[in-house]
């Protein structure tokens, strides 16, 4: 049985906004990415999971418990980073963590301290005067401090610099290793590609595709970019029985797609040509979803 289940979830805000007939399941221990442009309905879906809004039809459940009917029960197992960070009235990060620990019934702050260190956050800073990145780090610590088994993260890396984003991805991978189930939304493909097992693409409130990142990483069709030394080689090559995805005459360049099973034949074929360089063009999630637009 899946740990997180969203079934035929619909919430119509009018004018095409909202989510429509969203279905997805997340297994225990899985990291699920939720990608989409701004306003695609990522946050709306997550608010349903948190029990903040009532589904119009369909529903969401975590561990078999309905998210709208009994969110408090679910929250015992969930850590949450909201899409928009707005902290309660507390003087410093430390006092905010204490307050959250109070509400969570948490005594041991060791894990919170560990994450704080890992993110190089100074929690004694004034909560209101924190920079966007610092606030984001504070929110990350608050979500992880109780070491919950499920993490629901709404665009968790907004405001982090590239170094810190890497540190955060590290933390997520650690959590994943511990068997945590993670549901995160993002508008950044690389980040999702680096962490997630499965990715769903949301557009205008509907899931238009979902794919496992394994499929992307180990795609058997590979694309190569080849530049030839002379225009003669270039035109001769075009006559070969291959699939060309792009031809750039001005630079004597072609993009050619080769299946892994034909790679040996392909290298043999290349021996007959004078080549300036050859490079593989990596296939990415972004490329995959762009083809869907």
């Amino acid at each position: 049985m899946p740990l997180i289940e969203i079934k035929r979830l619909t919430k119509d805000y009018g004018a095409g906004r909202g989510v429509f007939d969203v279905n997805l399941t997340v297994e225990k221990g899985e990291v699920y990415g939720f990608v989409g442009t701004n306003g695609a309905g990522k946050t709306t879906t997550i608010r349903h999971l948190m029990g903040f809004i009532k589904p119009q039809s369909g529903g969401a459940s975590v561990g078999g418990v309905d998210c709208w009917r009994d969110p408090a029960k679910i929250m015992k197992r969930v850590g949450y980073i909201p899409g928009e960070i707005a902290f309660p009235d507390e003087a410093t990060g430390t006092s905010f963590f204490k307050r959250q620990a109070d509400l969570l019934g948490l005594r041991d702050m060791a894990y919170a301290d560990y994450i704080t260190q890992k993110l190089q956050l100074d929690p004694t800073a004034n909560l209101k005067r924190m920079s966007k990145g610092m606030k984001q780090k504070t929110a990350i610590v608050a979500a992880l401090m109780a070491d919950p088994e499920i993490l629901i993260l709404d665009e968790p890396t907004t405001g982090l610099d590239p170094l810190m984003r890497a540190a955060f991805v590290d933390i997520l991978n650690d959590e994943k290793k511990k068997g945590k189930t993670i549901f995160m939304s993002s508008h950044m493909f690389e980040e999702v590609e680096d962490t997630c097992d499965k990715v769903a693409f949301l557009k205008d409130g509907k899931i238009i595709a979902s794919i496992s990142t394994e499929e992307i990483k180990h795609k058997q069709e590979k694309t190569f970019k080849i530049e030839f030394a002379t225009a003669g080689d270039y035109t001769r090559f075009l006559a070969e029985p291959l699939t060309f995805s792009e031809q750039r005459e001005a630079q004597n360049q072609v993009l050619v797609t080769i299946h892994d099973s034909n790679i040996n034949g392909f290298t043999k074929l290349l021996r007959g040509y004078r080549i300036k360089f050859i490079t593989e063009i990596k296939y990415s999630l972004e490329k995959y979803f762009k083809t869907l637009y």
Binding site: A72, A86, P88, L103
Partner: protein
Amino acid sequence: MFSKPILKQTFKSSYKLWVIFTAILCVISAVVISVFDPKMISGMMKMLEGTPMAEMAGDRLSSMTSLLGMLSQQFYGMLAAILPMIYIIITANNLIASQVDRGSMAYLLSTPTKRSTVVRTQASFLIGSVFAMFLVVTIVGLGTVQLMHHALWGEGYTPDVVAAAKVLDVDKADLTDDLSLILDNEEALATGADAREIETDVYTMYLTLKMADDTGELPQFSEQAGQVGDMQNQIISGITAAADVLGVAPADLMSDMGKIKANSAALAAAAETSGLPEPLLVMMINSQLASDELALDAGIEFSVKDYLMLNLGAFLLMFAISAISFLFSCIFNLSKNSLALGAGIPIAFFVFQIMAQIGDSLSGFKYLSLNTLFDTNAIVNGGSYAVQFVVLAVIGVVLYVVGMNRFQQKDLPL
């Protein structure tokens, strides 16, 4: 039922406002009670009598001659209605709507805390803090009454009775029951007058009046007063003449007629102008001073029950008002909408009540205001107010329940 951590948080973020408003209320209440001087007020009333201002003020003035009457007008009719209201408006919005608007409510609800627990805890805090506010004001008020006027317990006897009892070596209670004991003993009379800081003959007059008052023989006294009233014009002309001699304003002299007696030239002038013989004039002045003293005793008379009812009524009104503000704080996700109605409606109620008091033509406004249900005049002057109290309580409970349910059912943009 309640969440202790939330209560702690709410307390931490709200107590400053509470302390400020409670302190202001206590100070004003204490000042109003301390400065109350029935002699001065009745003097003022006499000056105003027959002027257009008295008509405008209507019966509001007449109820001000007692401490409770004055408190109910000056404090409970105005400040005790507006100050807690401001506290309520700000706090009610902070408790729910502002946290939803800013998004910080997410940090409450992403913990294993039920929405019902959150809203119940916040409502309890609001009600509890308003109750505590009036409790403190009540205690400070009673303390001030006791301290400044000895009206509650301990020195329930006027200072002259205390002093005279010592001279006569009788019990104070017995002496209060039979004041003629003082009249019969010259030394006691002198000591009593001394204690009251008035002349012996004024004191004699006062004691006579007081005894008549106690035995219910007041009508006799009223007749005398009626005769005095016939000569009012003569007296006023006498006072004006005396004021000329003394070089003070007639109005000032009117509230302190003892000065005429003290100055023989002034007394002579007054007698000549008014055409009344000096001894009669002196007797009238004495009678006037004595009845002032009597009014002083009456003004200080203080019903603890009425005072408690004033505070209970003010609390119930604020309970209902807080329910309105809390309801809109629960309904709206935006502070500005929550404040528009949660502050707008209570303020409108307050303004309508003021308008209704201004004149008869606007009195219809009282039907548009919840504040009308807290009828301070009825409480102080023995009118009925139980039904209004119950209505206020019911309105408050209903609105709180509706607000709490609404918050549990609505979508939150967190």
